[in-house]
Symmetry: none
Subunit: 136 residues, 2 copies
DNA sequence: CCTAGTGTATTAAAGTATTAGTACAATAGA
DNA sequence: TCTATTGTACTAATACTTTAATACACTAGG
């Protein structure tokens, strides 16, 4: 059975200010993350989802395009859009870039509060010690 | 001696596509993170930096405003903009509370990007190793 | 009180992002 | 091949973002 739009429960928050295509991306990513969409499975068609959400097909297509750029889905004109069978792998360099990006403002903030880098690092380290006893 | 624009080496990349005000925010954050700007120190004045970068004062002001919203700087009309000094006279317990408060969203963010706590802690640790060789 | 220096508010121009309308193109299967 | 189904391209309308011009308001020091 083909995955239906309904089974994925797509919704749009019109008041959030978040662009429709970004909301779609987010919901696809979440559906993959919690297993509602498995690798190889077909996404709702561009038109099908567009009709269901009462938006233009191009908006859905844009979401799918960005997901393809990120390597999350594969699209085939005339056939459909599918969850990539490949693992989502960003390069180590890309990954480090992201880590730097999100860490920088945190460190700036911590220092603004009078914490030294060393102190913050030690705290983070102490947290890992705690967590390790819980699970993986 | 008041901190000068020159001593912080502000620059704008006109071709990057990154908004000027975001570039300024980034450079202030980095200056704090690596110790070139300490708590209590004054940032370049809105006008001073605007003239130096050949942009409108409002653009600098916008950067400073966002930094204030993030709690990184404090502005006083007629006086200047300063790196926040929120540290004073809090107990160790209060201090740890603050650290937990500011660390929690950071960890949440990092995990949302697929980084494990261990991984983040290790990265922070690696940063301290570098910085320690420089100064306090 | 005045003045030089500081940040702020208002408005407008230009660029960019977002979405939709419409038409086109590729694929699979009868 | 034919046709229904799939994604795509192009264009334009609208809203948002970014920056600047200009004028205003607060503060410290003489």
């Amino acid at each position: 059975m083909k995955p239906t739009v309904m089974s994925l429960k797509f919704t749009l928050d019109l008041k959030s200010g978040v662009p429709f295509y970004k909301q779609i991306i987010l919901q696809v990513e979440m559906a993959i993350a919690d297993g509602r969409l498995a690798t190889g499975e077909q996404l709702p068609t561009v038109r099908g989802l567009a009709v269901y959400l009462k938006i233009n097909p191009n908006t859905v297509a844009r979401a799918y395009n960005e997901l393809e750029i990120r390597g999350i889905v594969t699209t085939q004109q005339g056939t459909g859009t599918f969850i990539s069978t490949k693992e989502i792998t960003v390069s180590d360099i890309e990954r480090e870039k992201i880590l730097i990006e999100i860490t920088r403002p945190f460190i700036a903030n911590a220092r603004a509060y009078g914490f030294s880098l060393k102190e913050v690092a030690a705290y983070l380290q102490s947290l890992t010690d705690v967590k390790e006893t819980n699970h993986a």
